[in-house]
Every structure is written in C-alpha cells, then in structure tokens.
Symmetry: none
Subunit: 311 residues, 2 copies
DNA sequence: AGATGCTTGACAAACCATAGACAGAGGAAT
DNA sequence: ATTCCTCTGTCTATGGTTTGTCAAGCATCT
C-alpha cells in the first residue's frame, strides 16, 4: 500500500511543504517515485509519525533525521528513563534477524510461555513490537498468538495460567505501543469501548492499535461501559466514530440492551461500528440497526482509511 | 539517549533560562555539547528533576547544586518524612495517609481527564512516568490518581467514562513500565494474580511494578485464575511468593473458596501474600491461615526487600 | 484552464548560545 | 524596623543556525 504526498500530509499532520523540506534537507525519508510524484510506503508514514512526535517533544529534526526507526522508538519510549545497568543486558542480546521466518514468528514466544518463562516471553514480544509495524503486529503476532494459545488450551497442552500469562504479556505490550502512537491533533478521533457486561478487551485494544498506528486519534475507555456514558463521552470528545467490541459470549442480552440504547441516543453524525461478533444471530440483530458491522481487521482498516482521508 | 535543552525543559518543567542559569552559575549539571547546543543525558535529566523537587520544598539551588545525586535523594526522603510527620501532628492524630499526598503532581492529568483529552492526559502521565522511579510513581501518582478519580466520581464531578479512561491510561502506562523492568536473573520471583471471580487488577499491577522496579522477577498472570492453576503455576515457576489481590468486593465467597484451596495445596516453601483486602471480616478470615496479609504498599515493600529487592 | 506535483531559492520566525542587567524575596546586620 | 546584601528567576541584547512556509517557474494530467 503506497500513499501519495497529500494523503501522507493528512495522515501525519505534517504540511506538504514540511514533508518535502525534511526529505530535501535531511533525507528523513526517501519515498519511491513514479511519474506522478512521491509514493510513501507504510513504513515511511510510520517513521514520519515517530519523527513528528519526537519533534513535538522538543527534539530537533536535524538531529533526528539520521536516527533509525528503532532508535526513534527508544527515544520515545521510557527506556529513556531507567536503564541503569541495562546496557550490559542489551549488549548480550543477539543481533535481530532482519527477516524472521514468517510462520515461526510466534514460536519463540509460545515456547517461552510453555516454560512459564515470563521474562523471556516478554523480551521476545518486545523484539517483535520494535521490529514490526502496528499492522504487522496485529495480523502476524497478536491475532495468531491468541488463536494459537486458544487451540493449545483446548488441546490440553496449555493451562489457563499460561493462557492468562500470554494475554497479560500481550495486553501490556499493546498498551505500551498504543501509547507510542497517540497524537494530539488527529484528522478524526475514535472512541473505543465495550458495552455493559462485555468484558472482552482484546478486540478494541487491537483496533486502538491499528487506529493509532494509522494516525487517527483515540479515546480508549476500556470495557463494560453503560450506554449513557458511551453517548456522553462520544459527545464530549466529538468522536468521528464509536467502536464497540461485542463478542456477546456471556450476558449477550444485557449487552444488546446497552447497544440498542446507544443506537437510539447517539447522534446520527457519529458513526457506530461494532466488531468482534461471533454468533450469526447477534450479527443479524446488529445489522438491523444503522450500526456498521466490522467483519474482520482488514474491514476495520478500510473504514479507518475512509475516516482518516475524510477530513 | 540524549536530549536537547527544549526537550529537557518540557520533561522537567524548568524553563530554558533556568536550565542555563543553573548550569552557568552553579554547575548543577554539565551536559555535553555539540555544534548545535547542549545535549543532556538521562542522568542529567533525573538529577535536574531531583533538584527541582528539592527546590520546590524550599531548599536553595545554590546549596543543592554541589550535592551528589545520592545526597539529593537522601535529602528528599528525609524532608518528605519530616513533612509528613509534621502534617500528621498538625492534623491531630490522623496518621491516615489517605489525603497526605497532595495532588499537585496529578493535577495536570486530572484536568485532561475532565476534558476527555486522552492524548494530553497520556502525555502528562508519560512525563511523570519518565521522571519518577517506580516507587514514586506508585505512591505519588497511581494511588493518588485512582483515589482522586474515585472521589470525584462519588461527588458527581466525573462520569464513569472518565473513570474508565483514567484507569485505561494508567493501566497502559503501568503495563508499559512493568515491561521495562523485567529482568532475567532475579534473586527471587513473584507470581501475581487474583483468585477466581476477583477482577480487580490494579493492586497486583502496582505490586508487579514495585517488585519489578526493585529488581525481583515477576510472573504476571492477570485476574480471575482458579486455585489449581495458581498452585501449578507457582510450582512451574518456582516462585518465592504468590501474591494474591483480593478486594472481595463482589463474589467474595467464591474468591475465598479459591483462596482456601490455594492455602491447602500450595507447598509450605512458597510464601503466600494477600493484599487489597477492604473488609475487616475478610482480613480476619485470611489471617486465620498461614497467608500473610499485606496492609498497604509500604508493608509490601518491606516484604519485597526481605525477599531480595533493592529500592 | 485548472489541479496537482516537483524543484529551487528566499525569508521570516523560531532556536540556541553568551553575557549582562534587573527586580523581588528573604536573610543578616545595624 | 530599616537597611543592606545575596540569591535567583527572568529578561534583554547580540549573533549565529535551523526550520517552516511561500513564491516562481516548469511539467503533467484531466
């Protein structure tokens, strides 16, 4: 997926002039060209976003431009804070293979989880988080990992404790990464939450990751929020869309009640997206309303792009 | 990582003029230079933060500048205890630390949360997370913030949505920070979780933060884990202690059942700590067993130190 | 013709640095 | 109490650099 300069400007919040100047003067990114003009890759956009955030925090673009993506992430994350005797640890880490074997991305993590080795699993996940884009992380790590853990559990090869450990690790990583991409003057803002009695958080967390990674603003409200509150919050944040995670695996009726109320009270100008639906039945119910059913993550991405390019 | 003066000003809250004056007049810090200007190291930033807090407590920068980092820390912890003692004395015989910490640090965050400004709140929290030690963060930010949000909610000045937003922000920050402190050759390992039907995560998350910050290993298993699994996981990870978060605010009976089973099945060699207890009744039940009741975070820290943590 | 994009050059605003000045706070001495 | 005096945050003046934005001129496509 390649983006023309105009789209990148909206996506990153940088002016077209600035984009060109950064390229000309510092070689901050070097997008492809075709006869029509510049074409930025996804990783270009990601890098520009990191640069912009760093600049906002007081760093000079002239100095930043030479840094690698990894260094930029380090600069923005809190590694900056702690690392007393951490250099030694970093020095012992093996150089990361640039092109990891794709199907085996998860294997290291899974092996560590099986061994109950929290530290190792976290290291492995952190490595992936630093290496991959939000999209790749969601599609190639987070989703497969949760699926695989679920399978292994059903097959009796993993305990609930390990399932919990995997979830917590991933939860923490995603939370950390989402924070890395939060920006303050986005083209549009998404409000993410789940209705009353719906406690599955992963869907909206992944959605938040994708949205933030794509340059949209997010307001993340966690799980189990009553309808009035959702509506009120949507108004206060002037959200472009409300994203509800609804698996409906337990207490589906109550959640549906809450959902129905949101449909009634949310102003027409705010879009309402629902994802995570597992039962056909529930999906049918939702489709009767004006709400948009998000089938999967590619579908979510389409709508995100629509919302980002819209304003 | 190095920070230009502008970034340091934002990070520490000191004006650029002040930074230069402190350097010129007192040599408070002596950052590197390159042809573009000053470049502060992370330890410079930390030192400046210490200086700033000391100045806010009434010390003179002229005297502080000569002190070493260690002396500064000593000074701060000393005056902190003195002030607390004085305040407690003045307020009668109220040793309750509930309101002791003034919310100066969290005011910015609170204001942003009230405005539903997710990005700003996150930025502010990130700033605090970057400057404070895990201990300070837990004691001066996380706890006060949750308390304050709770109070404001009871007073009707905050909605549930805002409460959720605050929790999510803090949850993400803590998760991110815990990951930073995870190490692989700890003197002892803690297993943290909550028993069945206990969904309050914050207690064990803060505990994980303190433990990891103190150099202990952690295995974080999240909430709502059955007894067999807790016991099994404790065995597999050869944990030095199992830390259970039990508020017992809902489904207390089921949680107690799970707890009782853990007491029976967990080998004597593994310590069992229980924190977060809100009702006296529950605490009494727990005290009948061999489990250790953790009253508050200072108590937790004592036990962490006993197990090998260093603050 | 009207968009859109590219390059180049120019320029004002913002930044950073140094050195010195100034004013208010507070301590010490009279 | 009053008068110094020191301390300290902020401001000014001056000079060099960096950086965002604009304009002019050209090319391409609809």
């Amino acid at each position: 997926m390649l983006y023309p300069i105009r789209a990148v400007a909206k996506l990153t919040g940088l002016s077209i002039d600035t984009l060109r100047a950064w390229e000309r003067r510092y070689g901050a990114v070097e997008p492809q060209r075709d006869d029509r003009g510049r074409l930025y890759s996804e990783s270009d956009v990601r890098r520009l976003h990191l640069l912009r955030t760093a600049v906002e925090r007081g760093h000079a673009i002239g100095r930043l431009a030479g840094l690698s993506d990894g260094q930029l992430k380090d600069l923005l994350s809190y590694t900056a804070t702690v690392n007393e005797g951490r250099e030694a640890l970093a020095a012992g880490v093996a150089p990361t293979p640039r092109r990891a074997v794709r199907p085996a991305l998860i294997q290291g993590v899974m092996a560590s989880i099986e061994r109950f080795d929290y530290a190792a699993a976290d290291r492995e996940l952190a490595r992936l988080g630093a290496l991959l884009s939000p999209r790749e992380l969601v599609h190639q790590v987070a989703q497969p990992l949760m699926l695989h853990i679920g399978d292994e559990w059903h097959a009796g090869r993993l305990g609930i404790a390990q399932e919990h450990m995997g979830s917590s690790l991933l939860r923490n990583l995603l939370g950390a990464l989402v924070r890395l991409y939060v920006r303050n003057d986005p083209p549009a803002t998404l409000l993410l939450t789940t209705p009353s009695d719906e406690r599955h958080e992963f869907g909206i967390l992944l959605a938040a990751m994708l949205a933030a990674g794509g340059g949209l603003g997010i307001v993340y409200l966690g799980t189990d929020l009553p309808a009035e509150e959702i509506v009120k919050a949507a108004g206060r944040t002037s959200a472009g869309a409300v994203v509800l995670g609804m698996t409906g695996s337990e207490e589906a009726k109550k959640s549906m009640g809450c959902f129905a109320q949101v449909v009634r009270e949310l102003p027409e100008s705010t879009e309402l997206w629902v994802g995570g639906l597992k039962s056909e039945e529930l999906a049918k119910e939702v489709k009767k309303t004006r709400a948009l059913v998000i089938e999967d993550f590619p579908a979510l991405e389409k709508h995100l792009i629509r919302l980002g390019a819209q304003f």
